[in-house]
Amino acid sequence: MNRRVPDEILLQVEKPGRYIGNEINMVRKKKEHIDIRFAFCFPDVYEIGMSHLGMQILYHFLNKREDTYCERVFAPWIDLEKHMRKHKIPLFALETQDPIQNFDFVGFTLQYEMSYTNLLNMLDLAGIPLYSEQRKEEDPIICAGGPCAYNPEPLADFIDFFYIGEGEVMLNQILDLYKKNKQNGGTRHQFLEKLLSVEGVYVPKFYKVSYKETGEIASFIPLHPKAKTKITKQVVEQFDKNHYPSKPLVPLLQTVHDRVVLEVFRGCLRGCRFCQAGMVYRPVREKQVDQLLEQADQLLKATGHEEISLSSLSTSDYSEIKQLMTALVHRYSTKGINISLPSMRIDAFSLELMKKLQDIRKSSLTFAPEAGTQRLRNVINKGLTEEDILEGSKLAFEGGWERVKLYFMMGLPTETEEDLQGIAILGHEIVETFYQVPKEQRGRNIKVVISTSCFVPKPFTPFQWEAQNTYEEFMEKQRLLKTKITKRQVQYQYHDAKLSVLEGVIARGDRKVGQVIYEAWKQGCVFDGWSEQFHYEKWQEAFKITGINPDFYAHRKRNLDEILPWDHISIGVTKGFLKKEYEKALQEQTTSHCRLQCEHCGAMIFKGGVCYEI
């Protein structure tokens, strides 16, 4: 084992187990037999990256190829980074401990905007030029995918190509093209040119953006005859036949989610208007119960995990949820396997399940009403009513539960003081519901925790044209809500809005925003998503230096006919549908979910899933 970081350094850093690899089910290959070295990079710490299902799927998917060795790379924590810079240790992959500078591909998964400075920092630690145009033939091809790639523009200057959609569809074709090009002695430019014919691939350097004096985009023009005007996301159409890793990596360190994850379905039926995942992952595609039970069995055996969890955007919407959960409980609850209940709707069925699985006194109920009044819930198309919540709470209190968590967003479009007050009222009503349950049936103490986050308008949602609240507005709303919560049983949790505003800038940013990210990184920003590492003043400095006005991106309401930075990406769901949804939102009208009635969102262009259910 040629470990990259010597003992003496590893003994000085927090959690050295992050950097040693050697996990259970790690893929080992002989380097001599490999044509393509692929560094799969997660721009955050090990424990977070290793809890990410997408990485597990693609790691094993790529390693199925005999000619390819996919290895993992995480962002070193700041303590190790200091040593790496001091001792000139280049960023390395966990499996072989080789520097990734000499790999063929360095691929990043973009899970949240606030990891972008980490991405730049990782390239720098690897000794790879940050800007695409500065890279030479011997440098790896830098690519990126994942949810934030749906608006690739803020990173367009740094990434050689983006992959839009689910990796399983086109990655093989891309690697084949690469191998052929390499064998034929082709250049990186020639390879990127060849990629123009692959669906779902966006190569930023073949497009030119020009801007109006106001800062809006004037035109977005392909510079190459083969560069597509629209890049369509790729989805696995036959999802029940899709590759799923049967021997996932089992970390030696405790990670955020130390458990087996069963992917039940992709996509979401609901169409909440603030939710990007609900739009970009359409259409809903499910696996069968039998298949899931078989996978559960195999995964538990291969990992030795003592907990299993279901993964999807809204597990209660799985069409056979009762059969699945009943079977899982029946099989595993007596075998020392903990079944973790995902975000399920609180009703008689789920409460019955929870009673079997959890210690009621210790567990809490979670609701995500997102908005305080029915009016605003209609605006955002969140199909959860006050009656659902109070009825669910009552049932739960009768069963002995005494803790409730409520999640809300602040700064939603059309929000008024009444909506904020509604949050407090709902909290108070839950407390009253508790005391209406006879003493001998209910627990002793009720505790309600209200938590608010700050709304960030995201691309490919009906609210993509909306202005985000300013920092001052958010803070004022938090202050107001605090005064409205008067019952001692209700606790209010909130956090500083600075990070949300910055996320708002980057989420809907254009190519110019890349300069700010670069400058912020130069000022020393990394791990911005970690509150103790977040330095807002450095970002402010970056805006000043680059002359870019954050308000233009975060707090400006766009015209419906404006060219948006992500307009060249197609997610299947049409802009027309999003506009219609936006108008309906402003009229407080709701839209039903996919199984009740098809609203012709556009996702039907993909040949599979709920759109073709009979």
């Binding site: 000085q12 050295p16 050697n22």
Partner: protein, 231 residues
């Protein structure tokens, strides 16, 4: 059915701390489909205990774990099945069936043998034998013991049962037999640090290599390795 297994911890896995190591074993036991017994209650856990945690960064050829199984198992098969599921660097060396009435290893362990290595420049080299003799002739050897809340001064002289030392290349090697367990536990790095200080040499914790050789219990005033100890 109780068993005590002896294992080795070396290579990269030395960077996995005690709590994580316990989880690594839990999962290996499940993968190996060993009929491990569980505690009662809402969050049942495996009945596995470790007599003496090993500090992160240290290697060992004398670690132990004790398991309670729901049915009897041939000891070789038990070791073999578990070995197939362990990550690189963890190896079960031997096993010993215990009695149902046996006291837990963490209660009986009283001594531990270590081999420490520390880089020393040639110019700093001393006559270690005589320095050790002088070092041990002190009536007290005080070290600063830090807990989460406070720092206290502790005399470790009584807990150093045996100490030897020599040069190996550019390193000082110390062979130590120290008090271990719940009554008195002498951390090997304390001895190295206070010895180097005694010799007027600098010490930096990250330069120290700790290797544990074995754990011992007392039987009729004689030290017996846990590998063979049954009460």
């Amino acid at each position: 059915m109780k068993y005590r297994l002896k294992f080795k911890k070396e290579d990269e896995i030395k960077f996995i701390g005690h709590l994580d190591l316990m989880r690594v074993f839990q999962k290996a036991i499940r993968r190996a489909q060993i009929p491990i017994a569980y505690s009662e209650g809402f969050n049942p856990h495996q009945l596995v205990t470790f007599p003496l945690p090993l500090t992160l960064g240290a290697t060992s050829e004398g670690e132990y774990m004790e398991l309670q199984l729901t049915k009897e198992m041939n000891i070789e098969i038990l070791c073999e099945q578990l070995n197939q599921q362990l990550p690189l660097g963890l190896i079960i060396l031997d096993g010993l069936p215990l009695l149902d009435t046996s006291t837990k290893g963490m209660t009986i362990v009283q001594g531990a043998q270590y081999e420490l290595r520390y880089p020393i420049l040639l110019a700093q080299s001393l006559n270690w034998q005589s320095k050790i003799h002088e070092f041990l002739n002190q009536t007290q050897i005080m070290i600063k013991k830090q807990t989460k809340t406070k720092t206290q001064m502790v005399n470790i002289r009584e807990g150093i049962y045996c100490m030897d030392g020599w040069n190996a290349g550019q390193r000082l090697v110390l062979d130590l037999f120290l008090a271990a367990g719940s009554r008195q536990n002498i951390r090997p790095e304390w001895v190295m640090e206070s010895f180097l200080q005694f010799c007027g040499l600098p010490f930096s914790a990250s330069q120290l290599q700790i290797h544990r050789k074995d754990l011992f219990a007392l039987k009729n005033k004689e030290w017996v390795s846990l590998q063979h100890f049954i009460d």
